[in-house]
Amino acid sequence: MITKRIIPCLDVKDGRVVKGVNFLGLSDVSSPVKLAKFYSDCGADELVFYDITASAEGRALFTDILTEVASTIFIPLTVGGGINTVDDFDRVLKCGADKVSVNSGAIRDPSLIAAAAQRYGDQCVVLSVDAKRVDGQFRVFAKGGREDTGLDAIEWIKKGVASGAGEIVLNSIDTDGVKKGFDLEMLSAVCDAVNVPVIASGGAGCIEDFVTLFETLPKVDAGLAASIFHFGEVQIPDLKKALADRGIIMRV
């Protein structure tokens, strides 16, 4: 049986991890390389790096860091942020990324998904969607959740999968940061609409939230979170053990 995956997400700006990081025993807590190593050693099944820099210098720094991470950590790496063209795919894949996540870039130019899938394979293209309830509809938001695109999230995701997206990251803006659990209703709607892996993001506050996620929605493949891991509120070994104890298949 394939295991459920636990995925820490690292937002990187100007070469440093942002969103506070508060680990005991890590001397340089905002070093992406050290943090990635720490998570890999803890049993993280995959890592996601989001490049949230806007400047060209920041971008070059990001690829340097990615190269360093990929040459020392041997688990799957997904990279997102600032992916607007097939050349951007090329840039991060050469540095050792295994999958590339598109969000606003695909909203601006939906043909990006098909073009990238054709060149690198569906398994390489992750469609990341920030969605929020508006007028009884799950609506896609762009630019880090600031701009309502008017797109229906379920339709957008179906279209993305039909174009070649091999995996979906669904981040619910409604539950993000609230720490009261994942958005089960929104996730369920997405899982029913597509037959590619769905990664839940936004809302995890404690171990029990992951248990509820996988027990309620067995079709969800992975749970992603950032600050609860960075702040040590949830320790990955404890989380994976708790999930395994509840009969959820984990890599332990």
Binding site: A70, F74, G96, K219
Partner: protein, 209 residues
């Protein structure tokens, strides 16, 4: 020295780094003489079988790999590189492989149960066949250890050379070995400590130089 065969398919960055992290000397090369002088060969690959087999043939490296394998040199195929070791694949038509291991490569779509997603992507546990000793490739790991898979096609009709399977509905071929020719469907270079232990076992095999 380990030669990673470069025939224009895929990204060899992680594979190279993973061997280097073990202290192994590796060269990424498309030069037949370098491959012939290497102690071991790694055949990587991603993408579609037909395209990769064609590139390998065009480069002439298919014959070099076959000759060296037939001399007894340790050869490790990874992912599509493992699939290329077989007689043929039925991915988008019928394409001949290197014929180093009997068997064929077919779509998993008809054999996996409803609700199982294709491609098979993620971490899955290795099962060792009950009727034979554990392969030397797995001497540093345990049955049940998880490794990372990404594939839609799988090798079949290869029971004699099967050294590991993974359950995805049925038990799918995860690794094969026929004397000095070995292959893993999964990516050891993306499988954390378990994957590195498998690569280490390969590095420790006797060189043929």
């Amino acid at each position: 020295m380990i030669a990673i065969v470069d025939y224009g398919v895929g990204n060899l960055f992680s594979l190279t780094c993973s061997f280097r992290s073990l202290g192994a000397e590796v060269t990424v090369t498309g030069d037949p003489d370098v491959i012939r002088s290497a102690g071991k060969i790694v055949l990587p690959g991603v993408g579609a079988f037909g395209d990769a087999a064609e590139l390998l043939r065009k480069s002439g490296l298919d014959q070099v790999v076959i000759e060296e394998a037939n001399r007894g040199k340790p050869l490790l195929g990874i992912c599509l590189g493992m699939q290329l070791l077989f007689d043929k694949s039925l991915e988008y038509g019928e394409h001949p492989g290197l014929g180093l291991i009997p068997g064929r490569v077919v779509s998993m779509e008809p054999v996996v149960p409803a609700g199982y997603k294709v491609p098979h992507i993620g971490w899955n546990a290795l099962h060792f066949p009950k009727n034979k000793p554990v392969s030397p490739l797995f001497r540093h790991i345990r049955e049940g250890d998880c490794v990372y898979f990404v594939h839609s096609y799988y090798a079949t009709d290869c029971d004699a050379d099967l050294i590991a399977t993974a359950e995805y509905g049925p038990e799918l071929t995860a690794a094969v070995a026929r004397d000095n020719v070995m292959g893993t469907q999964f990516h050891p270079e993306k499988s954390g400590a378990v994957g590195l232990s498998i690569l280490r076992a390969f590095c420790e095999m006797e060189d043929l130089t």
